[in-house]
Amino acid sequence: MILAMDTSTYVLGVALGDKEAVKAEWTTYEKKNHSLRLMPGIDHVMKSINVEPSDLSGIAVTTGPGSYTGVRIGVSTAKAMASALQIPIYDVSSLEALASNRRFGNGLVCSFIDARRGQVYAGVYEAREGDLQAVFQEKLWLLDDLLAELASRSLPVYFLSLDVDLHRDNIQQALGSKASFGGATDSRIKPAEILRIALDKPPVSNVHALVPRYLQLAEAEKNWRKVQGDHE
């Protein structure tokens, strides 16, 4: 039995399942502190189908990109459980999990989160009969560059993001009728998709080495590196 958790956005998600089926799935949309609610949520989902921690054979967690604090809460919890139970841990991208909501569509799927100053952190995938192939590795883009790149391709693009309204106008301007957008229920990560992705890939070889996917270097680190560069 694998336990999956997601705290990368304000949506909190927990799921339990194995190769055969999803056994339980729980999400909330409250904009409340994940630290207060993640472990009670896990406990709730586990109890709802009578699963004990010792029944777990793996932990899957979204490592971002997303809210730094949110992701750290999930990753800390997941690493602690995997380490204490000596079971494997699975590193799942929150962008890939989100894009999976459209894996039965046709064309391109772009999942993103806003990264301020005209930037987005985005993943671009091609959906083919339930399978997602990465077209670009997830990375930080200037939205204008990303849209120009997508406009140069013939396939339609389906956008999925909790931040979609921030950029809807820009996207429509650049892509016209080639762009379409997920609705509210498609724009959040479904914990069962985290399970599915985890079950399809090898676990992380070293639990300790699992770290969040940050959008950028910490500000202080960036400045320090700039100064170092200037001195070279």
Binding site: T69, R72, A80, A218, A220
Partner: protein, 334 residues
């Protein structure tokens, strides 16, 4: 005889210890980020949080293997709930919850300052009533404990923590971060030639204030430079340190006699300061009626053994945290 695994991540040390009965250290691991933050001239919260996530489970496993224990040998998981940097606290708190949940162990919340105070248990039998002076980069507190587990704040800094004042003054005389050890080293070679102010505040107050002193040092250096006079850093360090120590010792002496305590505990990173130690030792001599307890440096700076020691009190009181435990950056003691 509970065996408690304790976690501390309130600032820039990722620390895990296993402590038995609140006094025997079975293992005590600290992964310090000091070198990382040195380049920034101080602790950067986001950087600290990132390193905690990176190191946390490794430090847990190191503490377990150093203790040659498995989870079935443990009775509880303790963690610093606050105060501290919220992002840093959250890593420890959520790790503690994950460990506790995985093995159905009780979860004990610990106050960071309580941890500093109860570090004394690791080196001495604490006798109540007692007073504790907690001095570090983040805290300057004088706390009275009529009996175990009861804390009354007696004095508190109104502005900078004493360690913070050290860091700022160190920067102005061109020393590296952290400033405490550097100033202490320099002061040992200098003389008290400058009469920096002592902030006595109102009559009878036990509070502290170090911002005026910090500005006085700044002004002194500025004025000396303007007049083309030579600044002797050794003497500035010695004079600054004398001013700090005078106030700390005066408050301690007065409180110890007013509260009529059996012991006086000095703890926190600044307790490593040689000048402060020797002044405290002459204030509370071995043959006197107040016993002075200053834990060794490794237990004075942030560590998890002290959290394990303090957790013993939560254990005895029957205090247990739920799975909704959160990091509390402004948590009050008591």
């Amino acid at each position: 005889m509970p065996r408690i695994l304790a976690i501390e991540t309130s600032c820039d040390e990722t620390a895990v210890a296993i402590v038995e009965d609140g006094k025997n250290i079975i293992s005590n691991i600290v992964a310090s980020q000091m070198e990382i933050h040195q380049r920034f001239g101080g602790v950067v919260p986001e950087v600290a949080s990132r390193h905690h996530v990176e190191n946390m489970t490794m430090v847990v496993e190191e503490a377990m293997s150093a203790a040659k224990m498995s989870y079935k040998d443990l009775d509880a998981i303790a963690v610093t709930e606050g105060p501290g940097l919220v992002g840093a606290l959250l890593v420890g708190v959520n790790t503690a919850k994950g460990l506790a949940y995985a093995h159905d162990l009780p979860l004990l919340p610990v106050h960071h300052i309580g941890g500093h105070i109860h570090a004394a248990q690791l080196v001495a039998e604490v006798e109540y009533p007692t007073l504790a002076l907690v001095v570090s980069g983040g805290h300057t507190s004088l706390i009275y404990m009529p009996k175990e587990g009861v804390y009354e704040g007696v004095g508190e800094t109104r502005d900078d923590a004493v360690g913070e004042a050290y860091d700022k003054v160190a920067r102005t005389i061109g020393l590296s971060y952290p400033g405490g050890p550097e100033i202490d080293r320099l002061a040992a070679k200098g003389e008290v030639t400058i009469d920096f102010p002592r902030a006595w505040l109102e009559d009878g107050s036990y509070d502290f204030s170090f911002s005026g002193l910090k500005s006085a040092v700044l002004n002194y250096i500025h004025n000396a430079k303007q007049r083309g006079e030579e600044v002797v850093p050794e003497n500035v360090a010695a004079s600054f340190q004398a001013s700090v120590t005078d106030v700390l010792v005066e408050r301690s002496r007065r409180a110890a006699s007013e509260y009529d305590v059996k012991q006086f505990l000095v703890t926190g990173g600044v307790a490593a300061n040689r000048e402060l130690r020797s002044s405290m030792e002459s204030e509370f001599p071995a043959e006197g009626n107040v016993e002075l307890v200053i834990p060794p440096l490794s237990l004075c700076t942030d560590n998890a053994a002290m959290i394990g020691a303090a957790a013993q009190i939560a254990w005895k009181k029957g205090l247990r945290a739920g799975y909704d435990l959160n990091g509390e950056p402004g948590l009050l003691l008591g």
